[in-house]
Symmetry: C2
Subunit: 281 residues, 2 copies
Amino acid sequence: MFETNLYFKCENFQKVGAFKSRGAVNAVFSLDEEVVKNGVGTHSSGNHAQALARAAKLRKIPAYIVMPENAPQVKVDAVNNYDGIITFCKPTLQAREKTLAEVIEKTGAIEVHPYDNYKVIEGQATCGKELLESVADPDLILCPVGGGGLLSGTALSANYFSDGTDVIACEPAGADDAYRSFKSGKLIPSINPQTIADGLLTSVGQRNFPIILKYVSDIVTVSEEAIIKAMSFIFERMKIVVEPSAAVPFAAILENKVNVNGKHVGIILSGGNIDLKKLPF
Amino acid sequence: MFETNLYFKCENFQKVGAFKSRGAVNAVFSLDEEVVKNGVGTHSSGNHAQALARAAKLRKIPAYIVMPENAPQVKVDAVNNYDGIITFCKPTLQAREKTLAEVIEKTGAIEVHPYDNYKVIEGQATCGKELLESVADPDLILCPVGGGGLLSGTALSANYFSDGTDVIACEPAGADDAYRSFKSGKLIPSINPQTIADGLLTSVGQRNFPIILKYVSDIVTVSEEAIIKAMSFIFERMKIVVEPSAAVPFAAILENKVNVNGKHVGIILSGGNIDLKKLPF
């Protein structure tokens, strides 16, 4: 099908089913005992919530997780499973931020942002580092972009640990704030993004953007149809479960947005947490 | 969840997505040049058809595959993909056997039965052998049973290559011919079996049954609900794609049909070929 070699880094097999474990563990274990003794906090309805709860449990400190009251039960259960202490709020960004501020005020916990945090970026960088260790000098690494935690970490790893590997970010056309920011050179937030790739709805972070501008070679966008087609292909042919966000880089290949002909290409499959009742096929 | 260690042998990652590759390759490559020069033939609408077409292509001989005219397009495409020569027939066992006999008469091909064939059994035995090589002396191996090719091969491997590993077969209650045959000591064919585990609808073969009687420790049956629950669990927690038949041994654990407490248990996940449009969740 392609005259190329594709290497998949399967973060769906990572703890909590996504790369988010890396950043959360690095952030939680990098904090001084004095800073972290009252616990950590975040607002998240996604993989970061589980990852932070798990990391805190490993360090034997409390994790305070603010979740929207309409969060899927499966995500709530997963956080409970790691003994995360959940506070529910209205499902708006404003309510989430306000509730988290109150929880932090009350408990003395320290916030660990899902991506706009250097220790989180460092942790996510280990994914690209491992890929570079197992595939000698790929020409390209393809990586999805949402908030930019994984992408900025991957770009840093390629810069420091590879011999000229390019990093290309892949983004849903319906949530193309990273693409527009990259092309214009200034951070443009996401407004009403629409995509099946629910992990990529967030806007690129302040700390992530300068790293992306400096170390990422290009950003391409893909259609929803290509994301679903890529996801089907990965289920059917590779026999593994990925979430829609994870299928975005392979979608870019299927849609000829990236030239992979004759190249060695690393592809980061970012995670595998999906509601089986909501599969798009 | 369980006080036990479970080791999964992932035949969904095998060529053609199922253990059937093993038997087909062994059978096709064991035949003398003189015997095999006109090709091989079978009637199958399942994984064996693809596996035989692939094995024949590797040996550069033709594969004649008789398929029912209502076979799913995805299976037809897969056989075509390996250059299998397809003859369609009415979807009855009688029509399939008659059509295959005609094709063999005309072409001089030799039939390779999907399970009632010693070379196929030998090939399937390599799956259990590999499991025993990677897990030191498991107490138990759990294996699904349909026609009995995989089961008889696994039981032979456990007998010859393990230090007392028991093999327990797991079968859908709605297709329990192996269970009834095993308990009565005489081969009872399947009559109108009903199960979502479409790979296990066939009756146990003549050559398979004596091996099963002699070397298998027990056969247990599971409900349809447990099969679907096991399949969901494997998708959600292990992040891999399995077909319903492959989930049957794990269903036996979920349904407490096998005592695995404190034991090291090998579980054969037999394959991962499913129609994504027909997932039971």
